[in-house]
């Protein structure tokens, strides 16, 4: 039973079922509408890719948002110049992000530790600043790159797709990329991405990346050249980011410079650490938590709170609403900050650590119960 649960196939089936049924089980907590589902899947891909670099090698990139941004811009240009079909957009974006990652990675990986982090940060911030201002002809600056009626869309024109006086929508051979169909498309790619990540985690290649994390110097002494491994991991994770950027543009055809700002890079770092770096599922949990706060908690206002607490006696309702309104709506940042602190204080290793502990506890209670399908990497001091 235990062995069975560890097999790739079983993990993938369980993962796929959970992801594809997300609209049903997320609706009760108010997160079952298309946009947030798409965001979960897209940022999930972003974080999974980031985790391949950070979780396995320990190299903390503070500039991964740049690849997300590059992916988005490439995708929107593909929509504008070629076709509204998302397939070419996704391929071009992933490749383009890969090229950027190759260049930036090649330079940044000459250094390690915090020097590496600052190099990646510097590249990302330069991309952001330039995209916001001088590169406006390419990026449309602050307003963001949007579709217009006057776009050429050469391929669509050749295919004889009629031009109407309203903007065309993104599609996959006719399947709309907005709404739930957009989510399922992202979800399928998330599952594929997860599979790639699983394979990497469990391959000799993944082992070598982990070895770099635990002691790079020793590996170098043995005559092992770590650079190609690091660079390939960097490029793979950059391509994941580019794919995520392309999907953001596919589900919502707009690309803005702020996607590349350091706060956006910081967000994926926080997601990964919060969920549990180096674990397969952890980053996804981190994504879920942060995006849920950003979209749902920020939207709770006082009248909504009154309804939540309406079962309490009047005076208590007032008290509860007064207390909780500091933590929702405009105060959602406070909740997030508090959560970061609580998680890391009590659960070194992130939310996944909590789940591992919980499952161990349950196991000791009910001997022989099932194990959670997670892969906890031994906690080595990095």
């Amino acid at each position: 039973m235990k062995e069975l649960l560890k097999s790739n196939l079983v993990i993938m089936v369980i993962f796929a079922v959970i992801v594809l049924t997300a609209p049903a089980w997320l609706t009760p907590i108010g997160a079952g509408y298309p946009d947030i589902l798409q965001k979960f899947a897209i940022f999930g891909l972003f974080a999974i890719g980031f985790n391949i670099l950070f979780g396995l090698t320990g190299y903390l990139s503070f500039g991964h948002a740049a690849f997300l941004g590059v992916g988005s811009y490439t995708a929107v240009w593909s929509f504008k110049l070629l076709t509204m079909n998302v397939l070419p957009a996704i391929i071009f974006s992933t490749l383009m992000a890969g090229v950027f990652a190759l260049v930036i990675g090649f330079i940044s990986l000459r250094r390690s530790g915090i020097y590496f982090s600052i190099l990646t940060l510097a590249f990302a911030q330069m991309s952001y600043s330039l995209a916001y201002s001088v590169l406006t002809p390419i990026t449309n600056g602050e307003t963001g790159l949007q579709l217009t009626l006057a776009d050429p869309r050469v391929v669509d024109g050749m295919m004889g797709i009629p031009v109407t006086d309203s903007l065309p929508t993104t599609n996959l051979f006719g399947l709309a990329m907005s709404g739930y169909s957009g989510f399922y498309f992202c979800a399928v790619l998330l599952i594929v991405g997860f599979y790639v990540s699983l394979k990497i985690f469990r391959s000799p290649y993944g082992m070598k990346l982990r070895a770099i994390k635990s002691n790079q110097t020793r590996m170098k002494y043995t005559g092992f050249n770590t650079r190609p491994y690091l660079l390939s991991a960097f490029v793979i994770s950059g391509m994941f980011a580019g794919l995520a950027g392309a999907l953001m543009a596919a589900t919502d055809p707009l690309a803005g410079a702020e996607r590349m700002q350091w706060t956006a890079s910081g967000e994926v770092v926080l997601m990964t650490i919060l969920g549990g770096m180096g674990t397969l599922i952890g980053p996804l949990l981190g994504v879920g938590i942060i995006k849920y706060f950003e979209n749902i908690f920020s939207a709770l206002n006082e009248s909504a709170l009154h309804e939540v607490f309406s079962f309490l006696p009047g005076w208590l309702e007032e008290v509860m609403v007064w207390i909780s309104h500091h933590f929702v709506g405009e105060g959602w940042h406070l909740t997030l900050g508090t959560l970061f602190m609580l998680v890391v204080i009590f659960l070194p290793g992130g939310v996944m650590e909590g789940i591992t502990r919980l499952s161990a506890y349950l196991k000791s209670k009910f001997k022989g119960s099932d194990e959670i399908t997670s892969e906890k990497v031994s906690e080595d001091a990095s």
Binding site: G113, L119, A122, Y132, G266, H333, T338, M341, V344, P348
Partner: protein, 338 residues
Amino acid sequence: MDEILLQILNGLDKGGAYALIALGLTLTFGTLGVVNFAHGALFMLGAFCAVSVQQVLTISKRVKDESITFFDAYKETPYLELWWGDTGAMIIDYAVPISIFVAIPIMLLIGVAIERGLIKHFYKRTHAEQILVTFGLAIVLQEIVKSLFGANPIPTPAPDIVSGSAAIGSMLGLSDALVYPWWRMIYLMFAAVVIFGVFAFLRFTTFGMVVRAGMADRETVGLLGINVQKRFTIVFGLATVVAGLAGVMYTPILPPDYHIGMDFLVLSFVVVVVGGMGSLEGAVLAGFLLGILQSFASMNEVKSILPGIDQIIIYLVAVVVLLVRPRGLLGREGVMED
């Protein structure tokens, strides 16, 4: 010529601010081994010490404006002015300098509390966890300040006598057009004094010697039977005070809002790393270098050749420095490299 001189002054001034913020950050890095993402928030708290002092000093007698009937609008006269006349007005005028003396004990207290309550539990944790917990702390501190003071910038002017510009050109026998704000010169001098103070403290006191030894080799110092823990607390407190003072003194230049620390956070990390991890001299050097280069990159003559260069110069310099010198300007081997 005047233009060049002015830009050098601007650069020194900016550099002073960068160096001051980076100094505290590199102290915590080097000594405690902690990546403190809340350092910007400490700068912000310092700035709000000045805001609080000003608000306390200007507690006012309110006279309702009767012409406005729909809500209560007041003509406000501070009690200090009512009681002590011109003396009171002068005290209010000097709110920012007065705040320095208020900020030192308050920031020290905050620093010690944060170290005792939170940071000390994270010495042995991974850098990733340190980042998450200090970032969380920074957000919480920001949100508290936002709920108390709002999100808009709050004006905290310098004393009237130094609020304008000094005609340094005519003083030095140069062009009359050479003027520079008094407060910015004061800030530069203040930064220099604080930086020299911190250096002297670390160089000429036994305590400082232990701290420097700790920066070089923490384990050995611990083995010598020295109470490293207690010294760590004091170092963190010192870093907090330096950050806070930088914040207090910056308020007349940049009216503070709750987000001001986050705006400086990334920059201060870049300064520290360009200077080299674990090197106080490096942080100061990098601060001034980046400040001056940023000023020159913003000149119209430069921008017309390289549009947008002023926006990226800091990061560009960071990349170049780190590629030429692997551990920054004055960094030591083995600090924060894994």
